[in-house]
């Protein structure tokens, strides 16, 4: 049934339907509404979870690690500095192969402190061994949590999932969302049946020291599982469609007006809504433009990206994050995808936009298409204000 909901509330509702046994979180804008709603649901008896109010994100992640290791489904959510503060636990959860699901309400990173949206937080944790899926709208954000638990708890996978949704734009945005009915959720997402857990009936030691004789295989196994999971995502997507009637195809990318497109923007998250509108405007004028939306950033779908862009002449990769001193994060992957390939774009330019909540408008998107007509650029910042920049320090 379609309901007009705030993004955060929709997430809280779908998490409720997933019935996690342990929820733990520490408040950070713009994640707060999600966990406030969950706390209320627990307080009202609508959700039979243990809600653990912790003193930091580090402990929030540690609590869900402990809960997951004890064999129950768990949930946490954070943003920005909170994600960075839990970083070592984030890596740890993946290394311990625990199927934690977390929402990252994407927000810029300090300094300067800024509560508004970009994707620097989750992007910076791309090497942690977590799946990262980026929602374009709140319907996807809701659905990706259901898919996230299915994927994470798959016995072939046993890896954590980070559902990334743009802070404020999605978390605080009101949208009509088709909320999954409980019976359908129960059908799609069975009770969590752990492969290993802390249980005195069958004691096991977890989190052991692995010396050089053993360590590399632990990392290789995650790497291989990530690669294999590219295919599992298609299977899960198909099953999701059969239960809920929404088709996310292979869950890796979305192709929008790509068939004959000469100029293509590659982007991720809610900005793709704006890009689609800009593409529609240009198509109306007869221009052959399109969008390739990355849904799954980790594991990165190199083959699908190559397939989707093989006929595009010019590609603009739009990053809402930077790797200071290097090529932008998504651009690196797209360029790498085509290395050594015979067929592919003649030009892959890279643009950085929307940092710290600066609006990416239709005009921003058109400007990116315009800049694609000139020579190839890397980490070209769009919508900069030159008047704020000086060569030398001065008050």
């Amino acid at each position: 049934m379609k309901e007009f909901l705030e993004g955060s509330h929709a997430i809280a509702e779908v998490i409720k339907s997933c019935k996690p046994g342990v929820i733990s979180a520490y408040p950070i804008t713009p994640q707060t509404h999600i966990v406030e709603d969950l706390a209320q649901m627990v307080s009202d008896g609508q959700l039979k979870s243990q809600f653990v109010n912790v003193e930091s994100e580090h402990s929030a992640a540690s609590v869900v690690l402990g809960g997951s290791a004890t064999g129950v489904r768990v949930y946490t959510a954070t943003s920005s500095q909170g994600l960075f503060y839990m970083q070592e636990v984030v890596f740890n959860i993946a290394g311990m192969r625990l199927p934690v699901v977390m929402t990252c309400a994407n927000r810029a990173i300090s300094a300067p402190i800024n509560i508004w949206n970009d994707q620097q937080d989750s992007i910076s944790l791309r090497d942690a061994g977590w799946f990262q899926v980026y929602a374009e709208n709140n319907q996807e954000a809701v659905d990706f949590h259901l898919i996230g638990y299915r994927l994470a708890e798959d016995k072939r996978v046993m890896l954590p999932v980070m559902v990334c949704m743009d802070g404020f734009i999605l978390t605080h945005g009101m949208e009509a969302v088709d909320m999954p009915e409980q019976e359908k959720v129960d059908k799609f997402l069975p009770r969590y049946n752990p492969l290993y857990k802390l249980d005195p009936a069958q004691p096991v030691s977890m989190g052991l020291l692995a010396d050089p004789d053993y360590y590399m295989e632990t990392r290789f196994a995650i790497q291989e599982t990530m690669k294999e999971s590219l295919g599992y995502l298609s299977d899960i997507s198909r099953e999701f469609n059969s239960v809920f009637g929404r088709d996310y195809k292979d869950l890796l990318v979305e192709e929008y007006q790509l068939k004959d497109a000469e100029k293509v923007i590659v982007a991720m998250g809610s900005v793709c809504g704006t890009i689609k509108e800009a593409v529609d405007e240009q198509r109306a004028k007869g221009k052959k433009v399109g969008l390739l939306r990355i849904i799954t950033y980790r594991p990165f779908p190199y083959a699908r990206v190559c397939e989707a862009l093989k006929n595009a002449a010019k590609v603009a990769v739009l990053d809402k994050a930077v790797s200071l001193g290097a090529y932008a994060p998504i651009a690196v992957e797209v360029k790498a995808a085509f290395y050594g390939k015979k067929q592919g774009p003649k030009m892959i330019s890279s643009f950085v936009a929307g940092l710290g909540g600066r609006d990416i408008t239709l005009e921003t998107v058109h400007e990116i298409f315009r800049r694609l007509s000139t020579k190839e650029v890397n980490s070209d910042f769009v919508d900069l204000k030159p008047e704020l920049l000086k060569e030398e320090y001065g008050e």
Binding site: S59, G66, V72, L208, L209, D211
Partner: protein
């Protein structure tokens, strides 16, 4: 041939390790229906080097500073599963992971009222990384990062009052213990797990390598710390001091001269006096002196 299925032989602690003895006392007292969350440190490294484990109970290590939070998640999950009544949860770590880097997570665990026993194995420095000073390193101790020298007689600060910090959270049980009195450890652990809520036990565990004494001196050194008043053994129940190990105080010099880490003090009566003052203060504060 095993006498302890819960803490098995074949771990790689140094010979004469006080922490190994204390850890075995704790788990044997708590019993098989126990789940342990362990901080990074000597105990974690010497008991669980893949593919071996010394632990016969479910055991988890995550990071240096988060055993109290991991244990909170375990306890919450057991509550959700309706299994908490029958299973003890223990979080444990060394002095550095308890009083320094893990203090925040521990404070959160104590404040939230989880039904967990936290055990701090206090060997008074970061032994696993090579005897660096921690917040529980005693005054005037020579460690690798508080070395004695022409301008310093070692660690410049007294021990952080961890038991008092734990006590200030209003928790039902706080106790100190010593590897020198193993049966006392077991009694206190049994009492602690019989009480609902957060409990804190801090156990003084000699480290022959870091304290620089012979391995067979583990017990006498631990006992001397208690008997001179530098490591008072006490119990607080619901905020009230309910018991203390009475002593006929020995001069601190006897304790100091037994260990290389205090060797630099031996011809320095002024510094020894300062250490004696700390012991005398403990003796007063906890009413340690035995009736004549």
């Amino acid at each position: 041939m095993e006498n302890s299925p819960l803490f098995k032989s074949g771990h790689t602690a140094c010979a004469g390790c006080g922490q190994a003895i204390a850890a075995r006392m704790v788990i044997e007292a708590a019993g098989a229906n126990t789940i342990i969350a362990n901080n990074t440190g000597c105990l974690e490294v010497f008991t669980t080097k893949y593919p071996e484990t010394a632990w016969g109970v479910p055991w988890i290590h995550s990071l240096f500073e988060n055993s109290a939070a991991v244990a909170s998640g375990i306890e919450a999950a057991l509550k959700y599963l309706g299994k908490k009544e029958n299973i003890n949860v223990i979080a444990q770590g060394g002095d550095g992971s308890t009083a320094d880097i893990g203090l925040q997570a521990l404070s959160g665990m104590l404040e939230r009222g989880h039904d967990i026993l936290y055990v701090c194995y206090d060997n008074e420095a970061y032994m696993n990384t090579g005897v660096q000073r921690s917040g529980l390193t005693p005054f005037d101790t020579n460690t690798t990062t508080s070395p004695s020298g022409s301008q310093s007689s070692g660690n410049i600060r007294p021990k952080k009052p961890m038991p008092e910090i734990a006590l200030a959270h209003g928790i039902p049980y706080v106790a100190t213990a010593s590897a020198g009195l193993p049966q006392d450890i077991q009694r206190k652990v049994k009492k602690a797990i019989s009480i609902k809520g957060p409990k804190y036990i801090q156990i003084h565990v000699p480290c022959p390598l870091g304290w620089r004494h012979e391995t067979d001196q583990m017990l006498p050194v631990a006992k001397l710390a208690v008997d001179c008043g530098l490591y008072p053994l006490f119990e607080y129940e619901n905020g009230v001091l309910t018991g203390q190990k009475k002593i006929v105080p020995k001069p601190v010099e006897e304790y100091l001269k037994a260990q290389g880490r205090f060797k630099h003090l031996l011809n320095n009566p002024e510094e020894i006096k300062k250490v004696q003052d700390i012991a005398d203060n403990n003796i007063m504060k906890y009413n340690l002196k035995a009736q004549a």
